[in-house]
Symmetry: none
Subunit: 242 residues, 2 copies
DNA sequence: CAGCTCTGTTACGGTGTGTTACATAAGCAT
DNA sequence: ATGCTTATGTAACACACCGTAACAGAGCTG
């Protein structure tokens, strides 16, 4: 499992500071956002594993944001609130929050919840592939998120094998973030753990994908290799809602 | 979604009574169990969709039972306890409980939690138990759920054999979810157990169905194969209630 | 009985995917 | 620069998986 990347959303700067610092001290990467615009910026620019979302965000409503995000994405969301009446909790669950936690909270409890939510979503994801209603676009290519074909900038249809699709999805989900071979393998298998780090399977797979979608496979523009690390998808990706 | 079958586990008969009654009044089937032996009996004799497990069970430990069940099965578990210190909660999550709720609890909150957990875990329990009088529509095709014919987008009637219908129903009931050959066989036979995992019967059957309903059987758009896994119905399906 | 349809089995060929081996490129210390 | 070391690209191979044609029973009809 890669390091968790958690997005803390709160309109109070002090609270953001406390939370991100605490999370960083506990082995995660914590990013901060003040409102919906911020959230989208972070989501677009990189992988987010979990969102910690305050219910009261000044003039925006955490509940509504949660509902919107849930409609577009599968990111796990934990709602945070000073109020914790049953009605509040139900509102949170109703819009698809994965958990609900009341302020002030025991910090260890927070970590336990995060762990629990992550293990739950990983389990359900491996059982039933979640539907991906998201359509991707990058450098003129489009991928509808469902079939096994991508269309080139010139309009050609290119058929990809299943592993190639898996690889492409793993990369598309994390644009500009270098992924190790292990992370790629884990993302594709979705079976969670196992360690076949020895083989060169990923390298060969990347090569095959490059011959299909790179204009000049010898000088790749989309999938770049980070020597000693892994591979990066080095182009901006648009997630277009279907 | 079929009716939920919930197993209430508590050593206090009165509590069992209250909970099962409440759940039954709210549209679920509630069964009761006092301890581990009881649980196993129920699990063996029929489908259980969710377990409501008390932490304090007299001489048995709910935590331990939860850990054991989780090791053997994927049934969602909600832990219930009078004590709700943070330590307790963490213990619950640590052994794999899907949620944790404190007594006394608001009954509506309980329902919301159940709903939340189920939607997270939603891999349909057993396909075989589903009711099948529903009328389906997909990609222009319609199937009335009763006869042995489907009508093509162009209005042609295509007659399917018994097994082909069974296969189609199994796939239609789980759109976008890859099914293994075993799952498909189980869903079609409905005899519960089987063993014939070796044969290629399903493959041949899929091929025959494809020649009947795929525009281009060589490049199927409806029934896709997941190498190493099984088959998926890869198109949106409308279930029109009859 | 013959003839028909339905369904599972077998066999063969094609395709996808991981492994290996070697060539090339990138880094690094002289 | 030069040489040495390590990482990556990729062709060739091996194997498992899948599509499907051909075949064989089973069951049904007349």
């Amino acid at each position: 499992m890669a390091i968790l990347r958690i997005l803390v959303v709160d309109d109070d700067p002090e609270m953001r500071q406390i939370l991100t610092q605490f999370l960083q001290q506990n082995g995660t990467i914590a990013l901060a956002a003040a409102g919906e615009a911020d959230i989208r910026k972070h989501m677009a620019s990189g992988r987010i594993d979990l969102i910690l979302l305050d219910v009261m965000l000044g003039d925006e409503s955490g509940i509504e944001i949660c509902a919107k995000l849930r409609r577009e994405d599968d990111v796990p969301i934990i709602m945070v609130s000073a109020l914790s009446t049953d009605q509040q909790r139900m509102a949170g669950y109703a819009v698809g929050a994965d958990d609900y936690i009341a302020k002030p909270f025991n910090t260890e409890l927070l970590l336990a919840r995060i762990k629990a939510v992550m293990s739950r979503t990983r389990r359900t994801a491996s059982l039933a592939h979640r539907r991906r209603l998201t359509r991707f676009e990058f450098a003129g290519w489009t991928y509808d998120g469902r079939t096994d074909e991508v269309t080139s900038p010139q309009g050609y249809q290119v058929t990809l094998s299943q592993r190639e699709i898996g690889l492409l999805q793993a990369l598309l989900a994390n644009p500009h973030i270098p992924l190790t071979r292990e992370e790629i393998a884990a993302a594709m298998d979705a079976t969670g753990e196992e360690g076949d780090a020895s083989g060169r399977a990923i390298d060969v797979l990347v090569g095959r994908l490059r011959t299909k979608i790179e204009a000049n496979p010898k000088q790749p523009k989309l999938i770049k290799t980070q020597r000693g690390v892994g591979y990066v998808f080095a182009t901006d990706v648009n997630k277009v809602d279907a």
